[in-house]
């Protein structure tokens, strides 16, 4: 019985990892990379397929890093990268399709409305362990961090100038939903998730609230107008001279024609 379970698990695992779909078929555009962008590209792809019958857009997630390596290795046509491009990635061409922000979230019952940069660093490095030390109701702080390899973690670390080893966390989570659930179930918790997800959950009545940063409230609107500091671009990357077919698709993904899809996923559209 167990061996069949293990078998199923491993089989699923190996299938999930084994997909190294060949790119370059004329009727197929392979897009891989960031799991933040993947649901968005899947929707955009569906709409593009409707406009261009016979063409298929194949979207697979696996992280921003995979997005870059797959394009370089020729395993995909387009990579999805949910961060600013780094200097050693200049060999690829990046197109920003939208922006996403990261919101620091607390339980709704936590009376605090803002934390300074120093206080957040103190909490995440384990120097501050009680809410009373930062002006809150006395109670132990539960630090919720993201698993290694996630671009949300990278962005968070880069913004607060921390290394992976500096963080002293109590709970490590995978995706945004798990973060929302963990924080909403624990009045002493602090975590960070995609701002779109956080704003949606807070407005839907989930007991979480978004903390402002540097005096700017965390909201999709402030990501859009560029004032919210903890935000990131969502990029599509290709090799130079990707061809007319890819250019048309990327142009479509950056056009106003897909604004409604971008907004549905709580991102903020960027137009060229």
């Amino acid at each position: 019985m167990f061996s069949r379970r293990a078998l199923g698990f491993l089989l699923a695992l190996s299938m999930g990892l084994g997909i190294a779909a060949g790119a370059h078929a004329d009727d197929r555009i392979v897009v891989t990379g960031s799991s933040t962008i993947a649901p968005l590209m899947a929707e955009i792809g569906k709409r593009f397929e409707k406009l261009h019958p016979g063409l298929r857009v194949d979207v697979q997630s696996g992280g921003s890093t995979r997005g870059v390596t797959d394009v370089r290795a020729g395993l995909s046509d387009i990579g999805m990268v949910s961060r600013a491009m780094s200097d050693d990635e200049r060999d690829l061409v990046a197109y920003e399709i939208a922006r996403d922000g990261i919101a620091i979230i607390l339980h709704r019952d936590n009376p605090l409305t803002e934390l300074s940069r120093r206080q957040i660093v103190g909490i995440y490095t384990g120097r501050v362990t009680d809410w009373s030390e930062v002006g809150g109701k006395p109670g132990r702080i539960t630090v919720v961090n993201k698993a290694e390899g996630r671009s949300t973690l990278e962005l968070f670390l880069a913004y607060f100038r921390l290394g992976v080893r500096d963080i002293v966390a109590h709970v490590v989570i995978g995706d945004n939903q798990q973060g929302i659930k963990t924080v909403s179930a624990n009045p002493g918790a602090i975590g960070y998730v995609s701002i779109g997800t956080a704003e949606f959950e807070a407005s839907a009545g989930t007991p979480v609230k978004l903390l402002g940063l540097e005096g700017v409230p965390a909201s999709v609107a402030n990501v859009k107008n560029g004032t919210y500091p903890l935000s990131r671009p969502l990029n599509l990357v290709t090799r130079p001279a990707g061809g007319e077919r890819l250019e048309r698709f990327i142009g479509f993904a950056r056009s106003a024609e897909v604004d409604d899809i971008v907004a549905d996923q709580f991102f903020v559209p960027s137009h060229p």
Binding site: M1, F2, S3, R5, A6, L7, F9, L10, L11, L13, S14, G16, L17, S35, S61, G62, G63, T65, R66, T69, G139, R140, T142, A147, E148, G149, R150, S151, G163, V164, R165, A169, H170, V171, V172, I173, G174, Q178, K181, T182, A185, N186, G188, A189
Partner: protein, 288 residues
């Protein structure tokens, strides 16, 4: 022995051939998976070395630290804790249904056990995250902890223990009961001294099977144990199991990080193999 004598050209022989082929296929696939996991883990085993996976004290795969020992310990502690809780309860549940429950209760009771056995682990995990973890957090923050994992895992494997223990108890020949009664033993004495000892290897096998299930469980531990990589130093400490390590990081891992996750998988597989090996040796011991 010639193949033709193994599978004679009779109806029975055809069935035997079909069954043989299917079981070869099944074990062949399992073998291929093992080879695949080993192959994916190999780059890490070669460049990082088996020793460092055991001796590194921390797990920062993106920063060149690959200690699996805390997660091995955590997986073991979770499974052992769950077994300590679930084994007596499961066996007691089996004894209750078989020998003590009133007739009208037997069928619905079995239905209940089967329902629990069939509950998807993600549902139990969600319950653990939304109900159990906040309760534990009130006692001792952060709540997501070893004990939360042990409790939900125990709940999950109780039916496995109960169902296998029932089967083992039922397979004890009626004559054992008759002989015990003839010796003047009452129900309690016959159960404790005759029937349970006679069924013990089946019961133990079921318990080890449940242990293997607890070791391999991913969703529940991922959701409620906190996933912090550190040696379990208390029941309320957050821990990360080998399974959740793979599930948490695999989607985003590349290079050595990815290969080292396959090493976690390999370590887990070895742990489970050891357990089922122990179960089989334990069963054989009785006939020695």
């Amino acid at each position: 022995m010639r193949i033709s004598s193994l599978f004679p050209r009779t109806r029975d022989g055809h069935i035997a051939f079909g069954l043989g082929a299917v079981s070869c296929l099944a074990s062949g696939i399992l073998l291929l998976i093992l080879v695949f996991v080993f192959g994916e883990a190999w780059p890490a085993l070669r460049t990082i070395g088996v020793l460092r996976f055991l001796s590194d004290t921390a797990w920062y795969p993106t920063d060149n630290a690959f200690g699996l020992a805390p997660m091995l310990a955590a997986s073991f502690a979770l499974a052992a804790g769950a077994l300590i809780l679930a084994a007596p309860v499961g066996v007691a549940a089996a004894i209750f249904r078989l020998y003590y429950a009133p007739a009208w209760l037997k069928t619905p009771y079995r239905g209940l056990v089967l329902l629990l056995a069939g509950t998807p682990s993600v549902v139990l995990g969600l319950w653990g995250l939304m109900v159990l973890v906040p309760l534990i957090a009130r006692l001792e923050p952060p709540g997501a902890s070893l004990i939360a994992g042990i409790l939900v895992l125990a709940l999950m494997i109780v039916p496995t223990v109960a169902i296998t223990a029932e089967a083992a108890l039922e397979s004890v020949p009626r004559s054992c009961w008759a002989a015990a009664n003839a010796l003047g033993l009452g129900r309690e004495a016959a159960l404790l001294n005759v029937v349970l000892p006679a069924a013990r290897e089946g019961v133990a096998g079921g318990i080890l099977l449940a242990g293997a299930r607890a070791l391999g469980e991913t969703m529940v531990v991922l959701m409620i144990t906190g996933n912090i990589v550190r040696m379990p130093d208390g029941l309320f400490a957050p821990v990360r199991a080998l399974t959740s390590n793979i599930a948490l990081e695999m989607a985003y891992a590349t290079g050595d990080h990815r290969a080292s996750l396959f090493v976690s998988g390999l370590a887990l597989t070895l742990l489970v193999f050891l357990l089922s090996f122990a179960a089989r040796t334990g069963r054989r011991m009785r006939y020695v």
